[in-house]
Symmetry: C2
Amino acid sequence: MLPTNFRANIRSGKHQTHTSGFCQNYVQANLVILPKKYAFDFLLFTMRNQKSCPVVEVMEAGQFQSKYAKDSDIRTDIPMYHVYEHGELVGKKMNIKEVWRDDFVSFLIGCSFTFESQLIRGGIPLRHIEENKNVAMYTTNIKTKKAGVFDGPMVVSMRPVPDSLVQKATEITSLFPKMHGGPVHIGDPEKIGIQDITKPDFGDFVGIKEGETPMFWACGVTPQAVAQHANIPFMITHSPGCMFVTDWKNEDYLHEG
Amino acid sequence: MLPTNFRANIRSGKHQTHTSGFCQNYVQANLVILPKKYAFDFLLFTMRNQKSCPVVEVMEAGQFQSKYAKDSDIRTDIPMYHVYEHGELVGKKMNIKEVWRDDFVSFLIGCSFTFESQLIRGGIPLRHIEENKNVAMYTTNIKTKKAGVFDGPMVVSMRPVPDSLVQKATEITSLFPKMHGGPVHIGDPEKIGIQDITKPDFGDFVGIKEGETPMFWACGVTPQAVAQHANIPFMITHSPGCMFVTDWKNEDYLHEG
């Protein structure tokens, strides 16, 4: 399906779940919307934390159409939004037209869904895609680098990978620094503060079989954990796994800059 | 001389001119100081214009010590500052302690002086250094990419290079994207809107001899031209050529990230 049709399905309410595995040849992005007052601190946060927050696009205040998605509307084209107030998740919304303000700055942040198609091509099986599930995500004890009011823990996505393919998966993803790059941790979940791997903070656990190693990548849900930790007064994000799908082909993005 | 001693000389008024050719093994940086209100627009401008504005460090609002320069003070450690109000250069100051405010955000931006030591090692003669002069800088007709209120022309530095070494100088500087990278133009100055090459907008003209080609690199003075073009209400910068000298060795910076 073309992204423009997929976004239309989301806008009309036909598609209401995660976007993992959909439009696999196109760049998907995490979303962070902040009042302009907090935009500088956050942009600086992304610069200092490029592994978790590789910026794809920053829209001007009030702008809601992405230059990477024809006729798109960032207020309607994501299946589910999270609204945070003072660090609390206060609402989940299917669109944010009613709460939109002219001083809102939208940030699109690279997503590991983009490198998944590269992993699959490289012969790395991805169970959450095979089972049409969302990827498992965890809040860790890895600290981000503070910037202004933004401070808090890194969120990671986890994929179980056959032991013999761990090195290959590392190599493939390391080639793509603009979508989280190589893993931040391989193996024992407890070493990064994950107490129970079977209970992700976001998304679905798909099991880790005998002969598989859990691999962890920095995740664009990190800003949500940071907003909670730092009591950011107001922020809107996508719901984890429910991404913004652009018209930008993975290959073109990968070879950009 | 060590940067810490050089900065002390600047602070005490012993060194009052440009810094070209001084502390050649250490990273020098352009300075832009803005009220936090404009910091987001400017940081976005640097992201969209990395060739002219490669960011070395962004300090938090009110912070005046660079993490790359021990015991430094950004308010005193530059030989000459420019103060802009509503697009006009309204003052030149030897220090800015009296006008400093807690909402000032300081940006350090990569400088071509850093790649000059690499050019010299590569056998490229640099006449402005041989003659202890400032490099010649020109406002061009090359447009920058707008971000918020920031919009305007690119400023370039010019070095005359022997024809046979133009390719080598291009190759050497292209290796250093974080300090302006390869040239933005080679040859005819009129093609980038420079009417009289003998009259630079900033710095000193050192002649272009028979058998030499003028080479132009994006320059960290660009924000000053942009501030003037866009009527930015308030901005402080270094005076062109009078840079902030860090303790960071060129080699370490070059191989960072």
